[in-house]
Assembly symmetry: C2
Homo-oligomer: 207 residues x 2
């Protein structure tokens, strides 16, 4: 949705589904995405269900419309692709802590695994804290101008703070979050229930 | 390496490292990749350590050199990005079976988890078997011509057969494998020890 907004594709159809109600396994979703996962996205007859794939496709199809999300310089372009794909690892590590009980059946849960997942997430977040060190000092984005790297990585950072991440412990992540949170594309795509209760969870507060 | 070969960038420096000897944690790797993982790749001063990121970058930087790895038609381009990113899920599911003992400490292992991982891998492989149904009938690739989707997905398929996947049970995957295995870029990038002992493992034979 951030990419759709940046590319001035407003007017796209979208629908908020509930995981709790299992709506991601509905026939409506399965017809687009046989994995029964979100996002499930269609542009004309073209189906793109991986968010990074959908972003790359939209950027390529609407190159000169709205904001250009791929930097021109080879150095920034390399950084963009690198951070974008590393963002998928950040997602995995956040999920392995936040959704541990959903991902692991009760009889297979171990305190040692919970501890290790939390330590690995802290290591991952500190890596990003380092990446952002120079970037936020310059008031800039992950790879020069606002790019696909921010499109993919920002929602992870927002997600982490929603789940209680400490701004004191991760000041660069917090700075990055506050630099981007009111960008129009990001405001327009914020989940409505996040606005209603901006922070109701503290699972990450001691990470 | 497949992308480097397709883009006629022969002459690139490369080095085969041993996981068993922990060479991926060497200073030489850590200087390029702070995660201590492979690949660790540098083009000039530009660092790209995620293989999909490196492929996207090389394709973009060398658009008109060697084989064009991005289709022109929107439909094929959508399919390319989608399959490419889904390939990362295939990698995860293969790893969770093949490297279970490496990934999970002994006291946290469960037969129920092993069974579930194997079932999830079978579901994943059957999904790809379906994707390839039309494709290999037409003697073609994952998204029209040979593209970044094949660059990312093929090594996973090769890996699965090396670990004993049954060609009888997955005939389309086997057909796809045999269509691509002698392509020059793929032959040039095949791990040398795979040639010495083409198939020494049977962990996937009953999947």
């Amino acid at each position: 949705m951030i990419t759709l907004e940046e590319k001035k594709l407003q007017g796209y159809k979208h629908k908020l589904l509930s995981f709790e109600k299992g709506e991601h396994k509905s026939q409506e979703v399965l017809e687009i995405n046989p994995r029964g996962q979100l996002p499930a996205f269609k542009h004309g007859d073209n189906v793109l269900n991986e968010s990074s794939a959908a972003c790359l496709y939209l950027e390529n199809q609407f190159k000169s419309q709205g904001v250009k999300l791929t930097p021109d310089s080879p150095a920034e372009q390399a950084l963009m692709y690198q951070r974008m794909m590393e963002g998928l690892t950040l997602t995995d590590k956040l999920n392995s802590v936040i959704y541990y009980d959903l991902l692991v059946p009760e009889e297979e849960r171990h305190d040692s695994a919970v501890k290790r997942n939390r330590e690995e997430l802290a290591t991952e977040l500190n890596l990003w804290e380092g990446y952002l060190q120079k970037v936020v000092a310059a008031g800039s984005y992950l790879a020069g101008g606002f790019s696909l790297a921010d499109v993919i990585v920002f929602p992870n950072i927002a997600f982490a703070f929603r789940f209680g991440l400490s701004a004191g412990r991760y000041p660069k992540l917090a700075k990055y979050y506050s630099l981007l949170k009111d960008r129009p594309s990001i405001k327009a795509s914020r989940p409505p229930h996040w606005l209603a209760s901006p922070q109701g969870f503290d699972i990450l507060k001691d990470i």
